[in-house]
């Protein structure tokens, strides 16, 4: 199983600007990446980071600098048969977003197990993200391609249907939570099991009671 983790190293996490300044957003994006890599590694996987710019040498994974945007990058990896080559049927390609701040080895294993249920490998496994996103996928068929713009989960279902692929979707709150907006930090603070919750707390970011769902404040 080849696992690609795309990472935007240039001005990441702009929607967190209400609570984090640019240097903090860059640092926090790296903390989230490290947490995702840690969860993948503890799940027995060996991820490769595809970063849009050099990251320094302290990353606990192989790093490939590739300035393509997400769709051409992933579709290129699919066309190549993945980062190490080879046909997808025998050696599937997984793509996991770098900002899944609630990822755990168990949640990641559920995605991979779901695609291999009943002794038959599904052509495509999807981890839906909130708001119609796609937060992780496992591809075993070269007729699939990605389109992360718009309502990507719907697009990915349609692309798979058009290619006649079997699709499974994993029901995981952890994998559904990409960290883009201030409200997502509530989830990290309440459920994160990596370093991100402590990083946020060290900067005074706290869960606050709101009228409906909880939100965050910075002290």
């Amino acid at each position: 199983m080849r696992v690609a983790v795309p990472f935007d190293a240039v001005d990441p996490k702009t929607r967190l600007s209400p609570v984090l300044d640019p240097a903090e957003r860059a640092a926090f994006a790296r903390v989230l990446l490290d947490d995702v890599l840690g969860a993948l590694t503890r799940a027995g996987l060996r991820p490769t980071v595809f970063a849009t710019a050099a990251l320094g040498d302290e990353v606990a994974a192989d790093v490939v600098v590739d300035d393509r945007s997400l769709d051409p990058l992933v579709n290129g990896l699919l066309a190549d048969g993945g980062p190490d080559g080879g046909p997808l049927r025998d050696d599937p390609l997984a793509v996991v977003m770098a900002d899944l701040g609630l990822a755990t080895p168990a949640a990641i294993e559920r995605l991979f197990d779901a695609t291999a249920a009943d002794g038959r490998d599904a052509d495509l496994g999807l981890a839906p993200g909130r708001g119609g996103g796609t937060n992780a996928l496992v591809v075993r068929d070269g007729d699939f391609s990605v389109d992360f713009h718009g309502v990507s989960l719907r697009d990915h279902r349609e692309i798979a249907e058009g290619a006649g692929l079997d699709v499974v979707e994993v029901d995981s709150m952890r994998l559904s939570t990409d960290v883009d907006e201030p409200a997502d930090l509530v989830e990290v603070l309440l459920h994160g099991e990596g370093h991100a919750p402590e990083w946020l707390r060290d900067r005074g970011i706290r869960v606050a009671v709101a009228d409906g769902r909880a939100t965050v404040v910075r002290e």
Copy 2:
């Protein structure tokens, strides 16, 4: 297993006011309730609805009219040993919110299975909701009590810890999604498996592409 579904029959779903008028909100709350009851029933459970006012006789479950608010209601059920009486250890009480528009029998079974993992029944099973909520719980110990105000998931963890209870939390996007705000309708439209998606589509509510996560528009 006794299963209580509390239902606010008086002016429900006020945070959906931007897209639904009061009569529509009342009708949609009933559609969500019916979907939840359907999922519970297909999971082999026999839910009892605790409604704050009479619902008419077309509900596919036993209905008890009880005008208590959520905390006194659930804590009363816990003190009683549940709607049919009996000690919680032998006959646990489950509480499932009536607005889990993505609930499926499989997701519900995961909650119950999680509390019985490794052959040992956990004292408390929780299904976290987004934004710090608690969307479903299974209680096997009378030392637990609920507090749904504020960040209820954190409060429930603390109450359980104070009572020395074993807690498991189920990792389910479906159970984490209560339907309170217009953005939640995106999840219903994309993932709902009951009647709620069709109800919304019949009223012109569609998923729309936004800058970040998808949103809804009404045509």
